[in-house]
Amino acid sequence: MAKKLNIKDKYRLLTRDLDWAYSYADRSKAFPFEEFEGIKITDWSKWEDPFRLTMDAYWKYQAEKEKKLYAIFDAFSQNNGHLNISDPRYVNAIKIFLTGVSPLEYQAYQGFAHVGRQFGGVGARVACQMQSLDELRHVQTQIHAMSHYNKFFDGFQDFSHMHDRVWYLSVPKSFFNDARAAGPFEFMIAIGFSFEYVLTNLLFVPFMSGAAHNGDMATVTFGFSAQSDEARHMTLGLEIIKFLLEQHEDNVPIVQKWIDKWFWRGTRLLTIVAMMMDYMLPNKVMSWKEAWEVYFEEAGGALFKDLARYGIEMPKYADVIEKEKDHVSHQAWWTFYTLGHAAGFHTWIPTDQELDWLSEKYPDTFDKYYRPRWELAKKMADEGNRFYSPGLPQLCTTCQIPMIFTEMDDPTKTCYRDHVHNGERYHFCSDGCKDIFCDEPEKYVQSWLPVHQIFQGNCGGPDVADILSDFYKMNVGADNLDIEGSPDLERWKKWQNAS
């Protein structure tokens, strides 16, 4: 009778024993990127596999999930599922998702393929390869989930072209470019740990819950289907940080620096989620502030307590971020509202009911700083002067968000930081972004800043409208501007009358 193998031994025999010590080629040429970041790996065999899935089991589970998911997609489009959403404004949230987030899933596929090839330990490699494959799944299922919306709404149609060019999309794009351009271990701390483990609940959950609350069956079904993948990715993120910290004490300050950097990069990126939650969901899930408190302050706080035994501290500027939760969503939506002519989705003034909800959720800041702006905007719009800002915003060199954030202790004053490097002056939205630049100026001087590129004449023009239509390939007058008067809204009204 064959002896029974436990999962760990079985996985070791089936996977971990496949690699060997090279005799005929220089192994450092086969895995050349392991040392330049200064991370010390003394023994890859200490890697604890975060999940022990063999490929046959992977195919089986994933195929089951795909079968169910695509059955829902088919039913959704057959039955014109888009008519069941709460309000046509909602669709603009998933326009941001397809143009801003799905291409990041693609970059995650590429980044995890890169580290899944480069790590010297087979256990870590295989875990990363599986995540790479999952990320490919996510971008493709998202494209398929949105495919039906693309047939009935404007703004989805050129998501890939837009992602490479449009001014606000350089924020997510550069975030992932930054991680992929870094060494393999920094990539893992950036994406595997900081993003997937610490911040994913603030990206994935709000979008998917937003879909659930707003009748978007296609997107929420994708969300449910991806949940078990995400759970695997989180365990990998946790394993990588523990592994690095346990391998060598010299790794601790390097990892801490990366946590500081990527936590700041991540929260800046999440600004768009904050705005989506507070302003773009007709049926609200929770406020950004509440989400931040639940998913970062409580869950993240517990995590960092756990990591303290390795000498890891709370990310730098966590105290600033704590104040920002009261402001960023308002500052961001105002920016998009005033630049709505140059955005690939529609913008609007919150309804009176929504303004009241914001007042209630943000008792310390909304009435004082932000409500009066919306009341003025409404007055102007009612008088036929819907306000659009004619200029192009100055961008932060690091996060590439327009310089819209204020000093947190004085929300009437815009936060400007600058630094001179090699005789050139660079501008930043915050101390966090400035620190990141100063630590690696040679990297960030390369930033492809959309507004600079426009002024340098690299994006066509000369008028903004030319850039939008020729360089961004937007359908000007359909994809952009206020939702009032948009073809999206006109069609929606027709469908409502027809049914």
Partner: protein, 328 residues
């Protein structure tokens, strides 16, 4: 008679994404098309990789092969993630049934000691070759260009991990889950002189920089010979020696090879159709790696199958290359 359920029909504004429409016209697109074409970012990268500052993050110059349109590498199987995993799930279900049947009937008891030794010495070490193939295909996925070809490389890379795992399971069936047969196979791989040239070939392929050359060394040259030698010729020999049941445990590999060969050949055809330069490059790489693979495989194949073995595999490989349009 058919019945027709009345649904409300809404006229769509467009049939598919704009980049798909630019390629294929204004008509409904397939899921493969929407999941594949133009998904990879092509321009305006923000930073050069610290690990390769002479290149962009996505850079077509990581191979000497040139293409006007990297999306010419359409997968004849039209695998995107969903169709890929569903196809492989079917194959693994068959394999699972075969392995379960083999174990339930205790068919390994019918394998003579000589046959068991042969499996351990000559078949199980291939798990390390498959591991190399995993590295090499993931390499091409990470540094290749355009979703059409890079996604296929990732699928291939994961397939190879699966095959390494299936081969390992054969070992565990033979040794009753002690792992001894895998240990022995690994010592063969590490120390037995018959395997050392093969190990050299594998190690060397993982240091090649040009991802298309890696594809040639691994998926075109080595795989063609290995799959013919081991899963056709050795399989037949073992079958003649009374071990035909073993074929149940390697059927996945044959089925997989048939499926993958279609894709490999189409990649070659597309690349050589683009330019004579591509064709010359590919022929040079094939000649280079064919010579090495002969050195790598000869000791094993001579011992197992006599002089004729490798020759037969090479003849069949050459025919395939001619059919694709190479060396003629």
């Amino acid at each position: 008679m058919t019945i027709e359920i009345k649904t409300s029909t809404l006229a769509p504004v467009r049939n598919t994404y704009a980049h798909i429409e630019r390629r294929f016209g204004d008509k409904p697109a397939t899921r493969y098309q929407e999941a594949t074409y133009d998904v990879q970012s092509e321009s305006y990268f923000h930073y050069r990789p610290l690990w390769q500052p002479d290149k962009e993050l996505n850079d077509p110059s990581r191979t000497a092969i040139t293409m006007e349109d990297w999306y010419d590498f359409k997968d004849p199987r039209q695998y995107y993630y969903g169709s890929y995993v569903q196809q492989r799930a079917k194959m693994q279900e068959n394999a699972e049934n075969n392995y379960a049947f083999f174990e339930k009937r205790n068919l390994s008891a019918h394998l003579s000691d000589d046959v068991q030794k042969k499996i351990i010495q000559f078949l199980l070490p291939l798990r390390h070759v498959e591991h190399t193939a995993n590295l090499n295909n993931v390499y091409a996925s990470a540094y290749g260009y355009g979703t059409a070809i890079t996604q296929a490389f990732l699928y291939n890379g994961m397939d190879r991990l699966a095959i390494a795992q299936y081969l390992s399971r054969i070992g565990l069936i033979l040794d009753g889950n002690t792992g001894e047969s895998l240990q022995q196979a690994k010592s063969n791989w590490m120390d037995n002189s018959l395997w050392q040239e093969m190990r050299r070939y594998c190690e060397q392929t993982t240091t090649v920089e040009d991802w298309f050359e890696v594809f040639i060394a691994q998926d075109v040259v080595l795989d063609s010979l290995v799959y013919h030698l081991f899963y056709e010729l050795l399989d037949k020999q073992l079958s003649d020696e009374g071990a035909s049941d073993l074929g149940m445990l390697t059927e996945f590999m044959r089925q997989w090879n048939k499926d993958t060969t279609r894709w490999v050949d189409s990649v070659l055809k597309v690349a050589i159709a683009k330019s004579d330069d591509n064709k010359r490059l590919i022929e040079n790489w094939i000649s280079h790696w064919l010579e090495k693979s002969t050195v790598a495989l000869l000791p094993i194949s001579n011992t197992l199958l006599g002089d004729a073995g490798l020759q037969e595999s090479q003849v069949s490989f050459n025919k395939r290359l001619n059919k694709v349009g190479l060396f003629k």
